[in-house]
Symmetry: D2
Subunit: 462 residues, 4 copies
Amino acid sequence: MNDSIDKIKHYCGIVGIHSTTERNIPQDLFFPLFSLQHRGQEGAGISYLNNGKLVTYKDLGMVSEVLGRYLEEKRTSTVGIGHVRYSTTGGNLVENVQPIQASCNKGDLSIAHNGNFSNSELLKSKLTEKGAIFGCTSDSELVLHLIAHSMQDTFYKALKETLCYLEGAFSMVMVKDNNLYVMRDPMGFRPLYIGHKDGLTVCASESCALDILDITDYRSVLPGELIVVNDDGINSEIFATSKRKAQCSFELIYFARPDSEIFDISVYESRLEMGRVLAREDGDPSQYDLVMSVPDSGNTAALGYAKESGLNYELGLTRNHYTGRSFILPSQEKRELAVKMKLHPVKEIVKGKRIILVDDSLVRGTTSKIIVKLLKAAGAKEIHVRLSAPEVKGPCFYGIDVPTKEELISNSKNPEEIAKYIGADSVKFLPVDKLKTCYKNSNDFCYACFNNDYPVEPKTGK
Amino acid sequence: MNDSIDKIKHYCGIVGIHSTTERNIPQDLFFPLFSLQHRGQEGAGISYLNNGKLVTYKDLGMVSEVLGRYLEEKRTSTVGIGHVRYSTTGGNLVENVQPIQASCNKGDLSIAHNGNFSNSELLKSKLTEKGAIFGCTSDSELVLHLIAHSMQDTFYKALKETLCYLEGAFSMVMVKDNNLYVMRDPMGFRPLYIGHKDGLTVCASESCALDILDITDYRSVLPGELIVVNDDGINSEIFATSKRKAQCSFELIYFARPDSEIFDISVYESRLEMGRVLAREDGDPSQYDLVMSVPDSGNTAALGYAKESGLNYELGLTRNHYTGRSFILPSQEKRELAVKMKLHPVKEIVKGKRIILVDDSLVRGTTSKIIVKLLKAAGAKEIHVRLSAPEVKGPCFYGIDVPTKEELISNSKNPEEIAKYIGADSVKFLPVDKLKTCYKNSNDFCYACFNNDYPVEPKTGK
Amino acid sequence: MNDSIDKIKHYCGIVGIHSTTERNIPQDLFFPLFSLQHRGQEGAGISYLNNGKLVTYKDLGMVSEVLGRYLEEKRTSTVGIGHVRYSTTGGNLVENVQPIQASCNKGDLSIAHNGNFSNSELLKSKLTEKGAIFGCTSDSELVLHLIAHSMQDTFYKALKETLCYLEGAFSMVMVKDNNLYVMRDPMGFRPLYIGHKDGLTVCASESCALDILDITDYRSVLPGELIVVNDDGINSEIFATSKRKAQCSFELIYFARPDSEIFDISVYESRLEMGRVLAREDGDPSQYDLVMSVPDSGNTAALGYAKESGLNYELGLTRNHYTGRSFILPSQEKRELAVKMKLHPVKEIVKGKRIILVDDSLVRGTTSKIIVKLLKAAGAKEIHVRLSAPEVKGPCFYGIDVPTKEELISNSKNPEEIAKYIGADSVKFLPVDKLKTCYKNSNDFCYACFNNDYPVEPKTGK
Amino acid sequence: MNDSIDKIKHYCGIVGIHSTTERNIPQDLFFPLFSLQHRGQEGAGISYLNNGKLVTYKDLGMVSEVLGRYLEEKRTSTVGIGHVRYSTTGGNLVENVQPIQASCNKGDLSIAHNGNFSNSELLKSKLTEKGAIFGCTSDSELVLHLIAHSMQDTFYKALKETLCYLEGAFSMVMVKDNNLYVMRDPMGFRPLYIGHKDGLTVCASESCALDILDITDYRSVLPGELIVVNDDGINSEIFATSKRKAQCSFELIYFARPDSEIFDISVYESRLEMGRVLAREDGDPSQYDLVMSVPDSGNTAALGYAKESGLNYELGLTRNHYTGRSFILPSQEKRELAVKMKLHPVKEIVKGKRIILVDDSLVRGTTSKIIVKLLKAAGAKEIHVRLSAPEVKGPCFYGIDVPTKEELISNSKNPEEIAKYIGADSVKFLPVDKLKTCYKNSNDFCYACFNNDYPVEPKTGK
């Protein structure tokens, strides 16, 4: 049912854990991965050291489905990594689920990766020439090949050499013997946090995954930082620096969980601020009767709008979270039914009202069109759609699944035309320069999908 | 994981459909039952006329699991009923899932029932003396036995006779041949709505289940009303009247979906009002910094509180809706982990704040205790818990699963003691007389679990 | 895949266990039910006394699927019954799976039944008049209703009264409190054995189910016998006698497991003898080159034929027992594929040979036609089909699922015509009078489906 | 339950299909793979060309479970390969299921392999030095690496070069673009057949897999033969020759299906002959009363024994083929129960008899011990165990899973001691030189596990 909802999709979330004493590491991985479930719901897996041997278990499915078994099992270990995954084109193949474990001349390794290499085609082409075989369609296998092909005499040197080959976005964790390796690309596209408590070191895509383990002493892994965690402690170095930083705007706008901190910024507060800015852009609030959100993605920004404007904040759309096993809707009116089963207008609230409806972004416009229709059918007088994201106009080469340029409605229609298309009375996007006012160090962000200013150009294999 | 969350549980939701033309009735039943999923998530089923023969399919599980198959199948029919169920003591046996179909001297019947007969023990004892055998532990089988034992010469007369035997709470639908029977007890304990559109008549526990089928012309089935729907139209009569009405208070406080109308009252608006009243009870808002809810049950009342008091409304607790297949948490700290996996404080919001925390009710106090602990750990300065329900002190004999008197914290502790027990700085309940101000026709409600004034005493079999 | 194989189907197998000391009764029931799996593969269930309370667990599926869980659980009890079921018309509904448990004025009871009442329509009609409701389409519920409607003052008297109402075939076990009741109809249609060892009493449809529990001291329950097993021992009486006995011929020909004893007869030896008689009927063996069977149903009779005739016995058809989860064959050539996936000719053996092919029975001829085709394609020169059953011409009212008269090939074709239809060079059935020579006390058998001499006429409800 | 049965286990079966016209290739692969289910029941998979793109689907489970979906789907293709697998040490990981698909500098390839390379450790070590990474523990990945590392300018040349690196046992199929590659090692360890009919070419481990597709025009792929099948036809060459041939003795003794032809020999006839030779070894038949087999593995040899000796052949052990989903037996007496649930003595037959009991082989003796005990308990007077395999004394490096030397009973006990250990009155094995008399070209076989004469020594990685 999910795929009928028109949203930009994320690739994954990662976790790495090292402990100086024996613990039930698979169980320790479960909870932070569960907390990152919103970053990928179609596959999950873990690798951990088991009696000195690296083992991997992964499958298609939610964290609770794939890894729930580890809650009932007692397994001691000291180091492990985990991954949740949203499947991209190439299909829901279990081969693509991570971590990816392999044995090579540097030993037995396993890797979990969030992001996309912008030069993967080129690297793949070079490696293929040298005889590498690729068993899955994921970028991440490249890292293992590069390490194996390196002529450096230690794994650590080979890893550093490998990191210098990689371009684009990568927050990664690896495990080899009793070592956890943590690294983030020099531009810092994807978030990555590390924290510790009593000999336990945990690294995860968002701070909410550290919270669940009661780890409060944490920080952002730095762009270009490589950290090794083992029984000798936590050793860090900067393997490469980049003047240009490129933290993903969409992480704060939509992907991250509202109670997380990423990029040293509170997700909740940045979204509140986006709503406030939208309100200031709109000016005189007396043209409207109330503010409400498309739940849950628009909740915080809508609240910010209400606070700034002084308008009534209402929970005018109820969201049904029951799904159980997935099912297939009858083809006719499929998308509309999917939305109606998920979002329900509160008629008494919307009836006769001039409504500010806040959502995070508008991609193809298909879902927004249905929501506007539902609200008008419930009696709404006017619907003014406000988006906390700017107009999405281009693809992402760094780990986000954006529809094609042709599908992106902002490439063919201006806001007035979009309003007409979706049946709204007005549509306004947060301009890029205003979005920047919501971010600390706003120059350290990537806005490429809005303004075409790509920090790294993708390289093809030719 | 669900059972570690401390909530009062509901028994079920029902749906009935009749159409003057052939339709895919099983599919038509799916959508309203899906909309009533919040009323029962442990069993689902339907009965419908299939080529002149009544058939039933039911199983343990969510609506999408049990009935999802009907979305892909083409089956024509004109009448059917459906049920969602929350399992009570007696276990999750498929035998107890409804509808219950049987053949008897009046023909083939099927029934779906929401509520509890307060004289079921007595009736069961009488019927047993006459040779009746009981295959399940559900009350609802009684209705079929009474109909079969009636000496009336028509089904309709037998049904009316049967209704006169029943005491307590019942909103019910039955199907026999091409007739849909809809009935509600004379005190009107449980909600029941009926609506129609173009030859399609639909009856359901809440109006949200009619909305999903785009039925906007609806009304409440009256207390004591018996409606027959068939190709001759919709015929209604009052089979019994009662001066005393007894609409369930908890339906509006907690059970019903916020976008529903029940008892001719908007659920959303009544909850907003409960929050407003709580605010007026509290007086001077300057003692507090912000209002937030325990999502999702406290959302609307918290918003009402904020509106009335002028205090900041914040989404200070994020709720994780991902669950996938159920799993078993490791025993130690089980309950606490369950809450932590579900509810996440937004630290930046709660830090250093004096917080009004609104929830619907406080039953045993176990979950509230954990939430308060989480918020304090996240830096909250003060937590003032406000409940939109009065203190729950007694059981329910009419279809609600309330813990035993011993388990109900309000039987052993006053609000101050409860505050101390759960670690809050204060706890206040909405007094019953104030709750009444939130209801239209407030004398038509049952407040027995709060004030021990039971509209019908349960009768035992002796 | 199974339903494309043309075989007469059986209804069920039953087991009852009582122990004077606490045992894991559900586990004790598992093994004999597993041994009776050939009597019904579509549903299984058990009822047993659990801390003084009767509980039932049953579902659609094989014994290992439905009851495998009890191998891993520790449950103590002293008495229980079990059932395996082949589903008849009315569909594979879990409601029809046995045992059937109910509570009534005589207490909590559960019953498992093998057979069919020939007066069930009449009884159902009478009971319905009295107000009984029927929740399933199985005959067996009747017994519970009759007991509940009896005005006798004890359960035992009510049970005896009930037995006097029943006509037709019934081997049954019941459990009430700590008592196991075992009964067999006065004509003895279906087999039933009882044995004991060290305080453990076990009753089952065939002796092979006692063997698995190492019970070697057993006997046939007598026609018309009612046995009560409890801590006072095993008490037996004859509740009714019948001059005419009617043991099912097909039990020995096909249903029972070859290593079982039923009706005081060795199944294996009786089948060997059927093969020997077929050989004597055929006369001069020099017309043929070898004898082989359609495995596994024809194995023993084929061996008997070979022994008597002195012809070569060969395993000319290999049977594939792998199935795993059931799957649906593509529609075209469905039946033929199903047979080809199951039965494989050994070409070197059949090539150029004049073959005696022994099977147990020929019902519609559809499967035989495919087998003959396969063997001819593998090079067989002549195929002479020999059946250890006589020509099947009529229905069974006592618990066997025979195709309709129109479908039974022997109603429209004589053996020569059948041979032509299935492509065989000859077809011969074992005549009824010769079949009788294979049975001890051959007058105590029912041959109604062959010769239309029905021991009890079915009674309708009018 | 299976693993408690003491048998030598096989690794796999393979199938390859090419068609000159579009067909439903996944469905075409299903049937021969189903026919090879006895060669591996723990994993199955296929690769096929789908709109010019190679795709693979595989999983743990039986053929019907993993691939049953393709019976209902319509997919056109012209070429594909398939695999069934028995899992070895290393665990039941889906990563180890075949075919293995990869992309490399020679294109997209997929391979399915039956056998074991005896120099895999050495090759793996060399490849690892060159930077290869290994994702699974299976040998077969080596082939893909070797092809990718070859500097030959065409795939075909690279494949031939690769084949020259491989030592030990391999019958393999590969698919690349619209070409099917079929190859068998120069010693011919594992069987492989190829046949065609009307533009359809099918290759499979045993002839029974061609029979199911009605392909009767087939031959053995020659040792050292490489065949390319594409739209230009079937082109074959010998890529290497070996004087020494080494066809696996156990394929004929036990693994292959009795209706198959492998190594140009009828499996059925060779087993009959093994039984005949055993009888001749025994001499005077009057010392015994009857011959019977341990079904199904000993069936044909037992029949051969009976024919030669003139002794009575009886079906004295019945085998239960019902299993359904796997289940776990309670630990105590686990193995014995497993055997009792599977094999049932026919008491009337065995009672008081001096029995020749024929089985294919005796490995650890654990199962035989239980069977002898069962038969004695059923009254057998003497049990004389006869094995159609010689004494198994050594491991296999070519694709068979033999217990360790310590576990093999024939390494520590002579036949008299084995008889004593298993409770039999005598035990005799077929001597290697007599086994040879049952094989055409008996010098072309491998008897290494019996006589330690290994055709190729395994090479380690040092």
